[in-house]
Structures are given as structure tokens and as C-alpha cells.
Amino acid sequence: MKNLRLPIFLGAMAMGLAFAEDPEFSAADTAWMLVATGLVLLMTPALAFFYGGLVRSKNALNTMMMSFSALGFVAVAWALLGYTLALSGDGNFIGDLRYLFLNNVGMENKGAIASITIPHMLWMIFQGTFAIITAALVSGAVVERMRFPAFLLFITLWGLFVYAPIAKWVWGGGFLADLGAWDFAGGTVVHINSGIAAVVAALVLGARKDFGRQAILPHNVPFVLLGAALLWFGWFGFNAGSAWAASATAGLALTNTILAPAATIVVWSLLDLMRTGRVTAVGLATAIVVGLVVITPAAAFVSPFFALVMGAIGAFPSYYVLLWRAKSGLDDSLDVFAAHGVGGITGAILTGVFAQKAVNGLFDGLIAGNPAQVLIQAFAVLIAVVYSGAMTFLLLKLVGAITPLKAAVKEEGVGMDITQHGEEAYTSGEGAILVKSEAAMPVARPKAVGGTD
């Protein structure tokens, strides 16, 4: 996704083509964006598996449901209101209501702000899939203890009042775009945003009762790997889809989206090997995500070689923050901050380092002689951190005033699947007595005449 004030140049300069002011509908671009939208949508279930595998089995469904419910609640909120807040009008801070309830979102190839070559509604829903996954990402900080109704309310509001404004500033022609901050596919809007919200949510909710007391281990590492793999696959839509066209820019973004995580895998594996003598699977899955996060803001701004470099460098901060976090008192349970927050910041800054106008046709970074870009990137990071942190705090307090945020300690003990959803992830059906009529539920032990218990 690119700065909407300058949308035409990117493709034009990179490909050596000149587009007319009002581009024609392109079936080829539409073909790619149909796929890209599907791919980004798939990322949210993928995240459900990544997160779901990392928790204890008694909380597996609850964790997955946090992502899956975003596919409903955040999507509907986006269509009705979020989209117009994020991506309409000339405002610097927030959109107007011209697309409220999907009004005026038609089939013509007209972007909300920039000119595009695909149907307007396809662009709207492509953007919507970003809102969904961003909200779902936050859940990793509050798993195994947040009450589900509170969570539903929280992410719906969060999608509208935290995600949409930041999207406006960076991608909707807002003030960060004006400043010249660049974020190709969502390093700031998606990853820093969700990473910071995660820290705040973890602090507001407080730690799980067992945190720091007992070992809390992933119940299903293959699910973690499955999630990481499908996230990677979906991320091609995320990054290369952010070119909004089947262009050479998209080709660059896709190439980088393979190479950066590949380099992160290698570095992370070697760090693991040196520290403990063993490469871990959870580590490798984490490395994939970190590498993807790091390259996201830079996906079509740096050359493939520097994508490798960014992936390799990007492993370090997240690796060590993760080690530190586990020993700290911060129960950001699934390390959203270490992976997305830290990875996002690393990526945003390194975008300012390794960007080359020769590659992206738009702007140079430090290595191409423009050190100022690093500062601009840092400034945008700062704004996102402050806004996301403050607003997430307020929203959680608001939701907490309506309905309790945190499950009782006893419910936590039993597990969130049973207490929040009345279901278990894996059942054998033993000892389950069928209740035939809901009215007269037979009770097994009314009177207790002697006997045993």
C-alpha cells in the first residue's frame, strides 16, 4: 500500500510506463487483486492457528475464536463505517462519511482517493481485510484470560477508532503521508499499531494467574507451523497486493516477501543454535513472522538483496526482546510486541535506511544519501505508538466499564473454552450425557443417601 498522494508514480517510474490521469479498468490488475484479497483474508484464520497452537489446549478454541470473530465483527464494522473513516476525503486526520454504509462504493475503477484500475468495491474490501487481521493480531496479548463478550466489543471499536484513523494518516493522504513517511504494506498501520495495542492490553488486563509461576507450553506446535505457513502464503497478497496492480512493483514486493523471511529463518536458527545448541520449531515459526513484518513497510521500496539484509538484521531485535519479555513481568502472552511491534519498528526504520529511488521510483533512504528519511520514519513510528497506545487504553477502560474484561481466576483455571464458549477443542464424548429436552435437564445427584462419592 502506498502513499495515496503519490500513487501514480510508483508504478509508472518503476516500470518505465506512463499512465493517463484516469486509468482504464485493467482485467489483469483485477485478476491479481481478486487473488490478493482472498490471500489477505486467509491470514486471519492462519493467525488463529498460529496463536491457537501456542496456547494450552483448554484455551485453544477461545484463542482461535478471537481471530475468527474479527472476520465477522471487524468486517461488518469496516463496511458500514470504518472504510469511509479511513479512506475518504481530503482530511488530514479522518475521512468523511461519503462511503457510509457502502454508499457510492461501486463497480467502477475508481479508488477512494487515488486512481486505480480495479473496481472500487474490490479495493474497499481488500483494505477491509487489513483491518480484520490487524485487530486479530492484538488478541495475542490477552489470550487465556479475556472475557469473550468484552473482546468482541473491544475489537469492533478498535477497528473503527484506532485502526481507521492511523490508516487515514498513512495511506489515506493524511498528515503522515504529507510528511513523507513511507509504509508500503502496513509496517506502521498494521504491525506497530497492533504491537503497541498489545502491550497496553496486556498491562490493562494484567497477567494470567499462572504466568511466571508455571510453565505454559504450546499445546500444538504443528498448528503453529501451519499458521506460520499460511500467514506467509497470505502475506503475498498483503505485500504484493499493496501494489494494487499486477505490476513489476508487485513482482518486487513478492520477491522480497520470500527473501526477507528466508534470511530471518537462517539468522534466527543460527542464534538458537548458538544459544541453546538447538534450532527450535516455535522459533522458526516466529522467525517467519518477524521476517515478514520487517519487510512489510519496505516490500516494494528496497532491492531483493537489501530485503535479504533487512530480514537478517531484523532477526536480532525481536529475538532478544522476546527473551527479555519472557523473563519480565509483562504478560504479552504470545509476544505480539516482540514480533509485530519491534519487528514493525525495525522495518519502518530500515525502510528509511535501505530504500532506493532507483528501485522504487519514489524516494531514497540513508544508503542512497538521504539520512533524513530515517528521522521521518522514526517520527511516524512515534505518532503511531502514542496514538495506538493511548486510544487502546481508553477503549479498554470504556469496554471495562460496560462489561468485565477479565475472566475470574477460577474460570481461567477451568479454561476459557469451557467457560466462554461451552465447548472443548478436542473431545472424546466420554461422560457426556445427552440432554434431550432443554427444559427438563436431568440432574444426576439430587439426593445423596450414604453411598460413595
Binding site: A448, G451, T452, D453
Partner: protein, 116 residues
């Protein structure tokens, strides 16, 4: 005090539980085991590998009862678990020297009498 250990068919567990509850037996623990007995073997094939499965899924019940409850408990299990075909399982009655209820520290018969 006795500990009754019973191995029953998985598919009869619900019947056994019902029979036990009817007999006022309220405390028990179960676990999944795999048993070998007179059952006919199953042959399974995975790619080129053929294996004979010597074990079938069973459920093991463990029930601590006071002495006068042994009889009705055994009868309930026998009634609930029987199909008449090979593989119905076994019941073992073991002597117990002492029982504690962890919640209260109560001992022996008191430990297995339900609170009303």
C-alpha cells in the same frame, strides 16, 4: 474400604456410568487404556506395512468404596458393561488401607461419603 478397578468397553461407558449413578455411586475416576484379551485381532495396513493390532481401546474405572458398597457397585458395572461377546472386560476388587479426602483431610469412609 476397597478400590474397584474395572476395564470396560469404550462404547459401554455411558451405560456403566448410568448404572453406577443409579446405584448411588457418585465418586469415580476413569482413564483410557488399551487392552489385550480374547478379542479378535485387527489387521491394519499403512503403505506397504501390515500390522496386527494386539490392543483395543478400553476404559478403566477406578472407584473407591466403603465395604458395603462393593456388592452394588460390582453389580452395576456387570449390568452396564455386559454385551456377552468376548472383550467385555474384567473387574478387580483391591483392598485399601486408607482413604483421604483431600479437600477436608477426612479419612476412610467419611472420605468417600458424599456431602449432601
Amino acid at each position: 474400604m476397597k478400590l474397584i478397578v474395572a476395564i470396560v468397553r469404550t462404547e459401554k461407558l455411558n451405560d456403566v456410568l448410568e448404572a453406577l449413578f443409579k446405584a448411588e455411586v457418585r465418586g469415580l475416576s476413569i482413564s483410557r487404556v488399551q487392552g489385550h484379551g480374547g478379542e479378535t485381532e485387527r489387521v491394519e495396513t499403512y503403505r506397504g506395512t501390515t500390522v496386527k493390532m494386539e490392543l483395543s481401546e478400553k476404559v478403566r474405572l477406578e472407584i473407591g468404596v466403603s465395604d458395603h458398597f462393593v456388592e452394588p457397585t460390582v453389580r452395576a458395572i456387570l449390568a452396564g458393561a455386559r454385551t456377552g461377546e468376548v472383550g467385555d472386560g474384567k473387574i478387580f476388587v483391591l483392598p485399601v488401607e486408607k482413604v483421604y479426602r483431600i479437600r477436608t483431610g477426612e479419612e476412610d469412609t467419611a472420605a468417600v461419603t458424599p456431602v449432601s
